[in-house]
Symmetry: C2
Subunit: 124 residues, 2 copies
């Protein structure tokens, strides 16, 4: 796996978290991928379980910005900001996600580092 | 593990990477901790093997700055910058480290996300 291929996959991931659709996000994941979001929660295995996460996001207005991306071999860590707006509230969250890739460039594992203290909610 | 206890351990870690000594850094690690720095390299298990990493740093002038810290349960992810100076060269590296802690607040695992492209070297 070339670093450039992983870089493009992560950039596309952060972009798709903003725009959707869920199906295109899931296409970045291997079929048996495992996601822990946030880290420490029950792992979600496979596209159906993982898709629930992104379907929930699809209900709200959202915007993402990629900050820092680090890559080595089949591993990546990325910090980005997600801002969602719904029902008169703005939620801002800047997680650090770590991802592992298979040799086809698909995500086999993702763990999102953020805690309840990291979620900022404002009235708009 | 309270988030505050992990926060203080990570802040102390980043500070000690600047100041040393190695012994105090190792005191933050459980005896059988495993470190992968950078991620994908051979894991170092135990204080003796881990200490080699920080002993190498002890030979050079260094400065650290913590940027972002995310915590959930026994897990933390931190982005920080390390600047070292030695032999007329300045090396700047901003890794993203992920850490897992035991119930005593000691680091049981650390994986450092950075690649060769992320190390900037300048003449000084």
């Amino acid at each position: 796996m070339a670093a450039q291929q992983i870089r493009e996959a992560v950039e596309r991931y952060v972009q798709l978290v903003e725009t959707g659709p869920t199906a295109e996000i899931l296409a970045l994941y291997a079929p048996d991928a495992v996601v822990e979001d946030p880290i420490g929660s029950d792992p979600r295995r496979g596209h159906a379980a993982i898709g629930e996460l992104y379907d929930a996001l699809a209900q709200v207005q959202r915007k993402t910005e990629l900050h820092t991306l680090r890559i080595n071999g089949n591993h990546a860590a990325v910090s980005f900001t997600l801002v969602t707006e719904a029902g008169g509230s703005r939620m801002t969250l800047s997680p650090i996600d770590v991802m592992e890739f298979d040799d086809d460039g698909r995500i086999t594992g993702m763990r999102a580092y953020w805690g309840p203290d990291d979620m900022q909610v404002d009235k708009i």
